[in-house]
Symmetry: C2
Subunit: 108 residues, 2 copies
DNA sequence: TTGCTACATGACTATATAGTTATATATGAC
DNA sequence: GTCATATATAACTATATAGTCATGTAGCAA
């Protein structure tokens, strides 16, 4: 299970990737992309966030390698780069569900 | 692979968990705990961080459920709550390695 | 009691960043 | 060319937090 020791530089890079996933707005965007490729305008409508705000979040997600993009005329289409994001979120979800179960037991 | 839709509240909670993993210092602490239970003093020595700083990071990690603790006299022993942290980091590591391979190809 | 050690916490500063507004850039229609 | 649309970006404000210093608190020894 546990692998090689991690260097300080590796941990800095890993922390930066986790930071990209540490904002609810960005998770909302990623969640919206689960349904497939979306333009920025579509993401504005789905998430209800401001245009400049969404654009900045998309730059962060693209810079961290979580989304890829494709320009088509005046639009830019974004999509999930791979399934890792979903797996990461599902792992976190699993943790939350476990916690919730424990809390329910305490109050039962 | 992809599961239920996520509520805004769930995404807020997930983001908070990712945020706990988004600091290099906290990853260093978690990395040190891969070797097993450690006291705060031991973590100070391993990481080289300040006492108050480590203590605060440990509160964050404990509040997020990533570490558990056990008081023994004047000392507090911390340990990884489970293996999920390692799996999460390994997933991120895998992404980084893949990126590095791509970059090497570009310069080859 | 006093003193010492281990840890936690409040107050503070400095930095990072989410969100907004205004503007820039680019593409296509006309 | 002008105009409108789609996206990106610069500048700014407000908030969050990492790190430090000082202090508080709890357990143990003498």
């Amino acid at each position: 299970m546990s692998r090689k020791p991690l260097s300080a530089e590796q941990m800095r890079l890993i922390a930066a990737r986790f930071k990209a996933l540490s904002e609810p707005s960005r998770l909302e965007i990623l969640n919206a992309l689960r349904g497939g490729e979306r333009t920025v305008t579509e993401l504005l409508e789905t998430t209800g966030l401001g245009q400049a705000n969404v654009s900045k979040h998309l730059q962060v997600l693209h810079g961290s390698g979580f989304v890829e993009r494709r320009k088509d005329g005046v639009s830019t289409h974004y999509r999930l780069a791979d399934k890792d994001v979903l797996r990461l979120c599902e792992l976190m979800c699993g943790r939350l569900e476990a916690e919730t179960r424990v809390k329910k037991k305490l109050f039962a």
